[in-house]
């Protein structure tokens, strides 16, 4: 689709191309990381020991809200990259800021959800099921939190240095990361929550 003239800025140098490919490979590794968590989750799902089972503690509203927030943030960062490719730095900064704010809201909700679980008697140490549930969700949440800081650092650089081959490259890679976290959440939403409440 793209030949050399129409190459967006984030692909403009050899190193940039390497970075993007390298990050895709990293996403491959992340797929395996979450696959391992899912495999463990499915195996420990029914091993509730003395603690509560999934259907006892899951509630649909925060989960639904989290899902829509994350989906929207995935959309806004998509718009951010679109704006970046058009060279509209201001718009891009706005979209990235919105994305990070949505991410923050997601994390806030997730923290609320976790405290709710602990109140329901489903702490990390309760049973095999709660251990893997909170670890799977926590791993995703930790990724999002890491993403918040990463995104913030990128915004600072964009503000200071403008849209250069380096900053656009970093932003594009960050958008890949963010979309990937959205994909992971879709699977958590479907096969942890919905399957658990079905």
């Amino acid at each position: 689709m793209n030949n050399d003239q129409t190459q967006p800025l984030e692909y403009s140098t050899e190193q940039n191309n390497l970075n993007i490919l390298g990050f895709w490979i990293f996403i491959g590794a992340e797929i395996m990381l979450f696959a391992t968590l899912f495999a463990s989750y499915f195996l420990l799902e029914n091993r509730t020991g003395g603690g509560p089972a999934g259907e006892e503690i899951f509630t649909i509203s925060p989960v639904m809200l989290e899902t829509f927030i994350l989906l929207t943030s995935s959309f806004t960062i998509g718009l951010g990259v679109h704006a970046m490719r058009l060279g509209r730095q201001k718009a891009m900064q706005v979209f990235f800021t919105v994305t990070l704010l949505l991410g923050l809201a997601f994390i806030g909700l997730e923290i609320y959800e976790f405290t709710h679980y602990v109140h329901e008697g489903a702490a990390l140490q309760t049973s095999g099921f709660t251990s893997i549930l909170l670890t799977t969700l926590g791993t995703h949440g930790a990724h999002v939190t890491f993403g918040l800081f990463w995104g913030l650092f990128i915004l600072i650089q964009i503000k200071k240095r403008g849209l250069t081959p380096e900053t656009t490259n970093k932003s594009f890679i960050f958008s890949l990361y963010w979309h990937f976290l959205d994909v992971v959440w879709i699977f958590i939403f479907s096969f942890v929550y919905l399957k658990g409440m079905m």
Partner: protein
């Protein structure tokens, strides 16, 4: 020439394994172990052929194409590969592997089901549980329990139900059949049978900590009559097993051979067949008591 030396070593080793029929695994005393020994011997045979072929080719090539035997101006040819040769080196291994796969699947189903020749007979169920570093054998039918030794009747299939009060262990009587794990949260089943009376070595084969090396037990296979006699004797002479006594037995350490009336299954039921949420409850109870 130098390769020949290595070759001879290997032939010697293979030969000594094949001829050394006093090796426990190759000296089976029950149908399961026999199946396994047959599989092992068959595979050693086929594999030896492969090894010999590879060795022969290697030695031939090394002798023929050494630089010292070539004229100085000999320049080796450029050969990309040959479809026929490559087909052969793919097809032959596939044939061998297919054959071995069939053998493997068949024999695996054989050792996982009731021993051949014993299908009609009612199996003797023995619960074998391990604790650091002992084996407890409960005979629910006879209502007796032993520690670190097994008495079994010949001519009757045995169904061992394995579980562990601690690390994963592996119940193994080489001359009667291969091993299987004993774990804390589920029961595994091992089908064995003894054809001939005798004393056999049994042990935990899976590393389980400090006392692992001496985590062995003695197996005595006797005729049904002798077995019944032994049971009667135990019933008359042995102390009953109590919960307190059993808790003491579970303490880490080594014990000699012990015999009890009654089994611990009454007050400490074993985990269910394969742990899942429903069965987990039983397990909890077991721990609480």
């Amino acid at each position: 020439m130098k390769m020949k030396w290595a070759f001879l070593t290997i032939v010697f080793t293979a030969f000594s394994i094949l001829s050394g029929c006093d090796l426990l695994v190759l000296d089976p005393k029950g149908p399961q172990a026999e199946t396994q020994a047959d599989v092992i011997k068959l595979s050693i045979g086929i594999m030896s052929v492969i090894v010999v072929v590879v060795f022969a080719i290697l030695i031939y090539i090394l002798v023929k194409y050494r630089a010292s035997k070539q004229p100085d101006d000999y320049e080796p040819p450029h050969i990309e590969g040959n479809p026929i040769v490559e087909t052969i080196i793919v097809a032959v291994p596939i044939l061998i592997v297919t054959f071995l796969s069939i053998v493997s699947v068949q024999s695996n189903y054989a050792v996982e089901s009731a021993p051949t020749g014993y299908e009609e007979k009612e199996p003797l169920v023995i619960y074998a549980s391990s604790s650091n570093w002992k084996w407890h054998f409960s005979y629910p039918e006879q209502d007796i329990e032993t520690v670190n030794y097994l008495y079994i009747p010949t001519d009757r299939p045995l169904e061992f139900r394995l579980y562990s009060y601690g690390p994963i262990t592996s119940f193994w009587i080489p001359q009667l059949g291969g091993q299987k794990y004993a774990m804390a949260d589920m029961i595994t089943t091992l089908h064995l049978a003894a054809d001939v009376p005798g004393e056999y070595m049994g042990r935990n084969a899976n590393f389980s900590g400090k006392g692992f090396a001496k985590n062995t037990f003695n197996v005595k296979a006797v005729s049904q009559d002798d077995f019944d006699e032994w049971v009667d004797e135990v019933k008359e002479t042995a102390d009953p097993i109590t919960e307190e006594r059993f808790d003491e037995l579970l303490e880490p350490g080594h014990l000699g051979q012990l015999t009890f009336n009654g089994t611990h299954l009454d007050f400490m039921p074993p985990p269910m067949k394969h742990g899942s949420s429903m069965e987990e409850g039983d397990h909890e109870e077991m721990n609480m008591e």
